[in-house]
């Protein structure tokens, strides 16, 4: 990070970056995965996305009006929260669920702490955990792509129950031809958006790479038939891992600031995700892993703080 902190004398050029530009940029990057989700799961998915986004914007507007603060709907952060929440829901949920979830995300996840930049936890993930704890039946009934009412397990949940009935090719997993949440299935769409984010400089490689690397290694080492036999690619392409690693763990507010801190944070996310998946009670652990690392990221920041030049050892 050193090269980002070069201090020079004026004149300076404005880089035309702002919170709003970045938030809308990330939303744009999420578009291909969402379009794929709608294509795979039908208009029900579109309704879920629309409801979540509308409810998030409405809640943000209402709370900022109530507390007489400046209304910041146009900065895109509420839009992005609603969008990310919808991407984390199965397509078949009743429409009051994204609405309640978005309300929880904005009200309890963000505004109670003081609004954008003050929240401890990623609001969309906090809301997902809330919905998961409150209405687990809806949150774990997935539909098969292309059909309206055919129930399907996700690859990870089928594996957890010990019977992977259907054999998934890597290509199916990569393109999104599998059961799952709306925005997590189409890995290729998510990666395309991630490339855009890298090129724009909105995210750095530290968190996603350390996250995916750690999870992959652990899945490879602790395989089903002895050590070093795991199908790591299957695990990387399944569940919400790609969505989590590129779009949720990298949330500026809830992740560490320095490169060193981000590496620790990403490794921690990867470790917890693999531990929950391999030995935990849930088939997928991305959401909880990121939330837990959100909670410790202030500590990581504290211990990876850069030292002031010329002041000797960090105390």
């Amino acid at each position: 990070m050193g090269n980002k902190l070069i201090v020079t004398a004026a004149p300076h050029m404005h880089a035309h970056q702002s919170t709003a530009r970045i938030m809308w940029g990330v939303s744009l990057a999420l578009l291909p995965a969402g379009a794929a989700g709608v294509y795979l799961f039908g208009y029900a998915a579109l309704a879920v996305i629309g409801t979540a986004v509308a409810a998030a914007l409405a809640t943000e507007w209402l709370l900022q009006k109530m507390t007489r603060r400046q209304v910041t709907l146009l900065d895109g952060s509420a839009f992005l929260t609603g969008l990310l929440l919808a991407y984390n829901l199965p397509s078949g949920v009743p429409l009051w669920m994204p609405a309640v979830g978005s309300f929880f995300a904005i009200a309890v996840g963000k505004q109670i702490f003081g609004g954008l930049g003050q929240n401890i936890f990623n609001p969309a993930l906090a809301a997902r955990a809330f919905l998961m704890a409150s209405w687990p039946a809806y949150m774990t009934s997935f539909r098969a792509p292309g059909f309206d009412a055919v129930a399907s397990a996700t690859p990870l949940s089928a594996l957890k129950e010990g019977h992977l009935r259907q054999v998934y090719s890597y290509l199916d997993l990569f393109l999104g031809n599998k059961g799952g949440c709306i925005g997590e299935v189409c890995v290729v769409g998510l990666l395309a958006g991630a490339v855009f984010l890298f090129l724009k400089g909105y995210i750095t490689w530290h968190i996603p790479v350390s996250y995916l690397f750690t999870t992959g290694i652990l899945h490879y080492v602790f395989g089903p038939s002895g050590l070093f036999s795991g199908d790591w690619l299957f695990y990387l392409l399944s569940g919400g891992l790609v969505l989590g690693a590129f779009y949720m763990a990298t949330d500026y507010v809830t992740s560490p600031l320095t490169a060193q801190g981000q590496l620790i944070y990403g490794t921690g996310c990867g470790l917890l995700t693999a531990v929950i998946r391999l030995w935990g009670g849930y088939p997928e652990g991305t959401c909880y892993a990121i939330l837990m690392m959100n909670a410790v990221s202030p500590f990581i920041d504290r211990y990876t703080r850069g030292r002031i030049y010329g002041t000797g050892k960090m105390r």
């Binding site: 009051w96 309640v100 309890v108 109670i112 809330f130 704890a133 409150s134 209405w135 687990p136």
Partner: protein, 196 residues
Amino acid sequence: MKLLPEFLKGIIKQNPIFVLALGLCPVLAVSTSVKNALGMGAAATFVLVGSNCIVSLIKKAVPDKIRIPCFIIVIATFVTIAELVMKAYSPALNRALGIYVSLIVVNCVVLGRAEAFASHRTLPASLVDALGMGVGFTLGLALISAVRELLGSGQLLGYTILPGFQPALMMALPPGALLVIGGMLGFFNLLKGRRE
């Protein structure tokens, strides 16, 4: 000596839950339904009144250095009475509250009032203080449990209030208790800040 303010302060100005933030363990644990909350509130109030009165009476006889163990013995006596009575006359409530009845012994509200108030005040003042604190504790507990029962099971005092409502399971679980208590603490602090 004015007794009314001593009674009222426990309900609003020094509410044990929302202002002093004492005795939160039973508040977290038994606030799943209003019925449990009222039972717990009644038991805690009984112990508070009993221990405050006795502590106020023996305050001169107790050596300063061992006052805490003495208070605990007094409190434990009343908790045992409360628990035996509850077991005899309301076994269902006793089962619902479980270990938290015995744990009133270590409830900070009870020991706190004995130490901070009854150990150097007169008997009538201590009695009124205990009643006020007990009522404040019960009201706070009832308020929290009303929200949790309504959202967590769609019921109030066991009657279905919201038919067709899909209860949010989380509100009946420990995270729901923490959310509601945190939210209410913040809300009452906000009101307090506005008034001052």
